[in-house]
Amino acid sequence: MSSDFGGEATAVAEDVPAGRVPAGDVAEQPAPRPRRCGIGWAQRLEIALLSGPAILMFLGFVILPVLMAAYYGFYRWKGFGAPTDFVGLDNYLTILRDSSFHDALLHNGLIVVLSLVLQGPIALALALLLNRRMRGQSVIRVLIFVPYVIAEVIVGTAWSLLLQVEGAVNGVLEAIGLGGLTADWLADPKLAIWTLMLVLTWKYVGFAVILFLAGMQNIPEELSEAAAVDGASYWQTQRRITLPLLGPTVRIWAFLSIIGALQLFDLVYIIWGQYVASTAGTSTMATYLVTEGRNAGNYGYGNAVAVVLFLISMIIALVYQRFVLRRDTEGALTGGR
């Protein structure tokens, strides 16, 4: 029904139709009405009925808690009773001086950068490798995705068993005559962040490979055929055709990777727990906010940390959307479609 193009969709922040159920309107919808300006009550009712539940759920369980976090961040509050001890920006000033938070922020920064420079090239290489015709290709693609599907808890539990001092990784190193390389992978503060990167790469590289492979499938075969006719070698074809055309996919993967790295919680918390992470040098903003907010009972401060994490992610996301993804998508955050 192309009847409603007249009701120009302007992105005005009000008029969310959630609560606007008009009372005595008839549910029976008469057949097509060519409507050129505005929309009728029946349509409004439909909009409210169909999108209302989703909007209410979303406002109630996503937006409201985020706003509550911002509110509690202004209080020194232990989580019992109503927050009364208003401290204004004190929590945020504390964050500026809090070396534990600075450590966590630094670790997050490292994880963001290392995720990009480790996983990106590895995933590209693997995608190029797996994009060749070979026997058992589809099986291999499934297998490479397995770590991504396994729950973080299981991955964390398994790797902490593998990596403990008496664990299998050191055992294998001994067995193949590399006993000199054995180490305390989890507790040594010089190593732990690299151990974390190893586990992260193992877990998430399959996701990047699958994305890249899908991107490669969308590149028209004619291009590489034409290149082959012109006498281009395999590597020339990859470098001049595949990789440039894969640009949008890579940029979107990088976006997801950055956001994921900023929000990293599960694996660190499971492998290192709440206390060891800070001494091993793997704490993140998310593990820190949970440690403060839940385990230490500083709800107000924990929520201020959450707000800072949120703002950092949001700013990075907006900047990235504005300057990197601009050509790839119609910025989902900056104006719908």
């Binding site: 029904m1 007249g6 009701g7 120009e8 969709a9 302007t10 992105a11 008029d15 969310v16 057949a31 929309i39 349509q43 439909e46 909009i47 169909l50 999108s51 539940p53 989703a54 909007i55 759920m57 979303f58 369980f61 996503v62 409201l64 985020v66 509550m68 190029l128 490798l129 015709r133 070979m134 297998l143 490479i144 995705f145 599907v149 396994i150 729950a151 808890v153 299981i154 539990t157 398994a158 790797w159 068993l161 593998l162 008496e166 299998a168 050191n170 055992g171 294998v172 994305l211 499938q217 075969e221 595949t242 906010l289 839940r294 959450a306 994490l309 996301a317 989902a332 955050l333 719908g336």
Partner: protein, 277 residues
């Protein structure tokens, strides 16, 4: 299937590389599974060896104890309810966003799209208090409701283009047959969008099945634990009994792996659809 690489016959280097890759990806998983068939003394003496003899007691213990099955049950209920909720609410809202024109539609889309940036981490402590005040602490609905809400953005982002792609002609034909928009939604949109619904449903199911932080806050009582919490509790309770932990861990991998291998094409398709979105 479009391949942009010329076929190269049996390049041995490529095969070796691929085999090593598969080994690296699967090695840890196989270690867990095989490790469950060993005894603790075998593991202590030779952390990297094969079972000798194969020991089935660890798996038998886990499978005959009630804990594992209760947690599988809890995870199944939570994941199934989350999936139904996300898909139902998601497709309704997506239909509005895809095929109605009204003031505020752009804002509504932006609201949900921005939800992609609100991970549960940021809101977790207020969310816990909210759920507690609703009297849902320590219950599965206390996990399910927030999971539905946090699953909506992805669902809507994937479904809106999908629903928009349904040709206008079908809608016009339906209108001529005196089928209202709701009737059209019920009789045409839902059947036509089944592939999209399955994709988003699978993503929601696996997300819920694997989720950790939210259950960690909401569920405190061992009886209400979902599988991820159960794995962690088991691992710390039996921290000296490595073999048993390995058995428990590998058994808890199975449901997600089975589910994944059944729907692998859909998941991969859904991810790429989301990226192209």
């Amino acid at each position: 299937m479009a391949r942009n690489t010329p076929a190269r016959r049996s390049d041995p280097l490529v095969h070796v590389a691929v085999l090593m890759l598969v080994g690296l990806m699967l090695g840890p998983v196989l270690y867990i599974v095989v490790g469950g068939f060993r005894t603790n003394s075998q593991i202590t003496i030779d952390p990297a060896g094969l079972p000798d003899p194969w020991e089935f007691g660890n798996y038998a213990d886990v499978l005959t104890g009630g804990t594992f099955w209760r947690q599988v049950g809890n995870s199944t209920i939570a994941a199934a309810a989350t999936t139904v909720g996300v898909v139902t609410l998601g497709v309704m809202a997506s239909y509005v966003l895809a095929r109605y024109r009204f003031r505020g539609r752009g804002a509504m889309y932006a609201l949900f799209a921005a939800g992609l940036m609100f991970p549960v981490t940021v809101a977790i402590t207020p969310l816990y208090l909210l759920v507690r005040n609703l009297g849902l602490a320590n219950t599965l609905p206390g996990v399910i409701l927030p999971q539905i809400a946090f699953g909506l953005p992805t669902t809507i982002i994937i479904l809106v283009p999908f629903l928009r792609a349904i040709p206008k002609e079908i809608e016009e034909a339906a209108a001529i047959d005196r089928c209202g928009r709701l009737g059209f939604f019920w009789r045409m949109v839902l059947p036509l969008s089944v592939p999209g619904l399955i994709t988003t449903g699978i993503l929601a199911f696996i997300g819920s099945w694997n989720s950790y932080l939210l259950p960690l806050f909401i569920l405190n009582d061992h009886d209400s634990f979902t599988l991820p919490l159960g794995v962690q509790a088991f691992a710390s309770q039996y921290s000296v009994d490595t073999a048993k932990v390995l058995a428990f861990t590998s058994l808890s991998m199975i449901p997600a792996l089975v589910f994944f291998s059944l729907f692998e094409r859909r998941i991969v398709g859904g991810l790429t659809g989301a990226v192209k979105g």
